[in-house]
């Protein structure tokens, strides 16, 4: 089917996309790498000296860098654990026979469509606020002291907000996978006397493994760059208690105008994301051959 003629036509059809994506990624990335070796601050115009790896040295030895790395990892891992465990549980529950399954699905998926700034602000003000928030009210009902979530445990609060945003995603994907499970296999196991728990461990979980991996990898990509939720709730604080890597780079480059240092941080973030990306690409690549 593919003649020489159609091949060159195909190349012509693909090239705009390829050229644009190349310009979008490779050129700015090259510039970031270049900036990261310069002593370049927007507040000090003039010469930008070449300083070698000094920006990296400052960035990597800055105590807030280690905190940001730690916070980034806690944030990613915390949200992953909550959403994957919760997602599996919810997918199993929603797959059961019930009335109004479609409506429940709609309710569960809804948070995913709420823009990050809205969900962060609604949580911050209407739920977590120590004076007027709903949680404070419930605490008082039970005779407890209201807890100031965002200043006492800012990172945990952000993990909670972000988990609320991503739990629907995990649930939806795992539920889709559940529904492709062969029900005859389940029935056979049931007839052979397998208990609900062993059916879950030996049939459901293995069936979900692949989807769980996909959920983990894709969420990791997005969770490594959580930004808006932090900006509108804690601004990375108190201190650096809830600063993650993207927020640190943002602060360094757009608040302190340190282009060189911010660029070095950006490159560190790229390297970290690439480690995850390699695994994800391998999985999707395998799928492409099948």
């Amino acid at each position: 089917m593919a003649t020489q003629h159609s091949r060159s036509a195909a190349r012509l059809m693909i090239s705009p996309a390829v050229i644009l994506l190349f310009l979008w990624m490779i050129v700015p990335l090259a510039m970031t790498i270049y900036f990261s070796f310069l002593n370049y601050n927007l507040l000090r115009p003039g010469a930008h000296d070449f300083v070698g790896f000094r920006n990296y040295y400052y960035f990597l030895t800055d105590p807030s860098f280690l905190i940001a790395i730690k916070n980034t990892l806690i944030l990613v891992l915390g949200v992953l654990v909550i959403t994957v465990v919760g997602g599996v549980a919810l997918a199993v529950l929603l797959d059961q026979p019930m009335w109004g399954q479609g409506i429940v699905r709609i309710l569960v998926i809804a948070p995913f469509f709420v823009m990050p700034t809205v969900s962060a602000l609604v949580w911050k003000n209407m739920f977590l606020n120590p004076v007027n928030g709903l949680f404070a009210y419930f605490a008082q009902l039970m005779g407890l002291q209201p807890y100031d979530f965002l200043s006492q445990s800012p990172l945990m609060s952000i993990i909670m907000i972000v988990s609320w945003e991503w739990l629907p995603f995990a649930t939806l994907i795992l539920l889709t996978a559940m529904q492709s499970l062969d029900s005859e296999q389940m029935e056979a196991a049931e007839m052979d006397g397998a208990s609900a728990i062993s059916r879950f461990i030996y049939i459901t979980l293995p069936h979900l493994t692949r989807s769980i991996t996909v959920v983990i990898l894709i969420q990791t990509i997005f969770l490594l760059s959580v930004f808006a939720e932090i900006l509108v709730t804690t601004n990375g604080g108190p201190g650096t208690a809830s600063t993650n890597l993207p927020y640190l780079v943002y602060g360094q480059s757009l608040l302190q105008f340190d282009v060189g240092g911010g660029s070095a941080g950006g490159i560190v973030a790229v390297i970290l994301a690439n480690i995850v990306a390699i695994f994800l690409m391998r999985m999707i690549g395998k799928n492409l051959e099948a």
Binding site: M1, A2, S6, A10, M13, I14, A17, V18, L20, L21, M25, P28, M31, T32, L90, M98, W99, G100, I103, V104, R105, L107, V108, I109, A110, P111, F113, V114, M115, P116, T117, L121, V122, W123, N125, M126, F127, N132, L134, Y137, T176, S183, V214, I218, I221, S225, F227, A228, V232, P246, L254, V259, I267, L272, M281, I284, G285, N287, L288, E289
Partner: protein, 276 residues
Amino acid sequence: MARAVTPARKLGFTIASWTVGLVIFFPILWTFITSFKSEGDAVAIPPLFVNFHWTLENYVLVNQRSDYLLHFWNSVVISVGSTFLALVIAIPAAWAMAFVPGKRTKDVLMWMLSTKMMPAVGVLIPIYLMFKNTGLLDTLTGLVIIMTLINLPILIWMLYTYFKEIPGEILEAARMDGADLKSEVLYILTPMAIPGIASTMLLNIILAWNEAFWTLMLTSSQAAPLTQFIASYSSPEGLFYAKLSAASTMAIAPILILGWFSQKQLVRGLTFGAVK
């Protein structure tokens, strides 16, 4: 399912699922309810659920004080504009890769995917400086360009997986019957491709509407979409719960409705076809 389901069992699962569903949905419901309260009722203790004076004044006030319609319009222009622009670039590319696959098609697809893995902070500074120097900061043009580029890989991937499912035999059959290239594209391929294109478009509009990194970095007032508009409530102004709720409801309602229609496509689009 052939298994017998006792009504009691079904009732139990129904109650459990509805409870969980309502708990997860509650923040959205609460925001919606609060948007109809007066500021006093919004912070009343104990919280009021239905027995308060329902009012639309917050919606009126939010529209008067801040230019809600401008930001809404910006969101529409950015999400719809970038989606159409990206489709124009993505459809031919996905088409060619699906129907005329070459030796390197797979590599090209993977490379496109890899651009999506790049964290935005890695390219923030050059883009910001370029925008600053060319006067694109806080303009709709600038944001449409960025959104087009951000979502291009997802679009190409989604379209590719849809086009892949169009059987090649049908084309051969048409050719046997004497169809020329024009009628092939017009009467066979296009009708088969339209559902895939439509759902790709829908998902992309949702993603662009909710994008909250570049919109926060590159806009301030004139071109600010709803994400940035809501972020301005992070100041003490956000403590006016009823107004915050009204603004939030207006910001999420359109996309929530679109989103509910696109659940299935969402799975496919966000997993790059790995889960269907």
